[in-house]
């Protein structure tokens, strides 16, 4: 890998210089994260604005819902820890350990998705389904709930697929440590978004 030296070379546009001395894949992932954070900010803004202008916003989440969503938060936070340990192992060149930590991260992601889908079916049965019935639009509380949590669950599911692609091929030598680091950035971003979704949507709507 060569880097252009700036000594005596004033042409910064001649190429070969890394912005912020960062790997281009890593920088690309950071740019994606910045853009996607705006997407989630817009969704959460839509939810909070709809709630702000509403005079009859219900608080539907009972204790079992909060326990379930807290367990989901624990799964995601733990999977973030295992992902950090995977990145650490890949930096040391330990491919087997990296694979095992990535597998643990996948387990956390799959557990989160399974619990979330169970939560959805529970809400589906007791409140409203996430599909439009004829002549009956979804109440705003459920439209925003399914919109925000659905978008997040989509990201988690894609993340599990991404983990599988890198994780299962990493021991064979297909990917490098930087690829595991970039994967880690995406996974931590997904966890980061949940840190906002969980309090805003679940904790502010607890049924006491």
């Amino acid at each position: 890998m060569s880097e252009a030296s700036l000594d005596g070379n004033t042409d910064l546009w001649s190429g070969g210089v890394k912005p912020f001395t960062m790997n281009s894949k890593k920088f690309g992932m950071w740019l994606f994260i910045a853009a996607d954070s705006i997407t989630f900010a817009a969704l959460l803004f839509a939810y909070s604005y709809a709630r702000l202008v509403s005079t009859d916003w219900t608080t539907p989440f009972n204790f079992s819902s909060i326990v379930l969503s807290s367990t989901m938060t624990f799964c995601l936070l733990s999977s973030s820890l295992t992902m950090v340990l995977a990145v650490s192992a890949s930096a040391k060149g330990d491919r087997k350990k990296t694979f095992l930590w990535i597998l643990a991260t996948m387990g956390g992601g799959i557990a989160f998705t399974a619990l979330h889908l169970y939560e959805w079916t529970h809400i589906w049965g007791h409140h409203v389904a996430p599909v439009l019935a004829a002549n009956k639009p979804l109440p705003m509380i459920w439209a925003t709930f399914y919109g925000c949590t659905g978008m997040h669950m989509l990201h988690v599911s894609i993340g599990v697929g991404y983990l599988a692609i890198v994780g299962f091929q990493y021991p064979g030598g297909k990917f490098k440590a930087i690829d595991v680091e970039v994967l880690g950035l995406y996974w931590h971003f997904v966890d980061l978004v949940w840190m906002f979704v969980f309090p805003l949507i679940y904790l502010l709507s607890t049924r006491i």
């Binding site: 954070s37 817009a42 803004f45 938060t73 650490s88 931590h188 840190m195 309090p199």
Partner: protein
């Protein structure tokens, strides 16, 4: 040196994980305390921002990146999100005048209430 650095790094990550779990527990407890909605919102958002900073700084390693990178990414993203939030005060206006608009629609029909001007309503109303 790398093993010591690694152990130190992993220890920091474990500590951050424990802190994140503790903050989450505090948030869940807060949800069951009878607090003013606005105060609870401020506290929950505050804790969420702290958790986000911990994840970005330690798990995503931003603390160890170049300052120029941090100064490029963070202010731009924060500013863009803040610009979205500029619309919130509009929500308070809608909340204040929506009941009057709905009342007019009930009395005179939807057309008249739909073209109501917020300032005009404020001027015309007794309060």
């Amino acid at each position: 040196m790398s093993e010591h650095a690694e152990a130190h790094g992993n220890k920091a990550n474990f500590i951050v994980w424990i802190v994140l779990l503790a903050l989450t527990l505090v948030e869940v407890i807060l949800a069951y305390i009878h607090l003013d909605q606005m105060l609870m919102l401020i506290l929950l958002m505050g804790f969420s921002i702290i958790k986000a900073v911990l994840i970005i700084a330690f798990f995503m390693h931003m603390k160890f990146e170049r300052l120029s990178f941090i100064l490029t990414m963070v202010p731009a993203t924060v500013l863009t999100i803040s610009l979205i939030c500029v619309i919130y005060p509009e929500g308070y206006r809608v909340l204040k005048f929506l009941p009057e608009a709905e009342k007019k629609a009930a009395e005179h029909g939807p057309a008249e209430a739909g073209h109501g001007d917020g300032n005009k309503d404020a001027h015309d109303s007794d309060h």
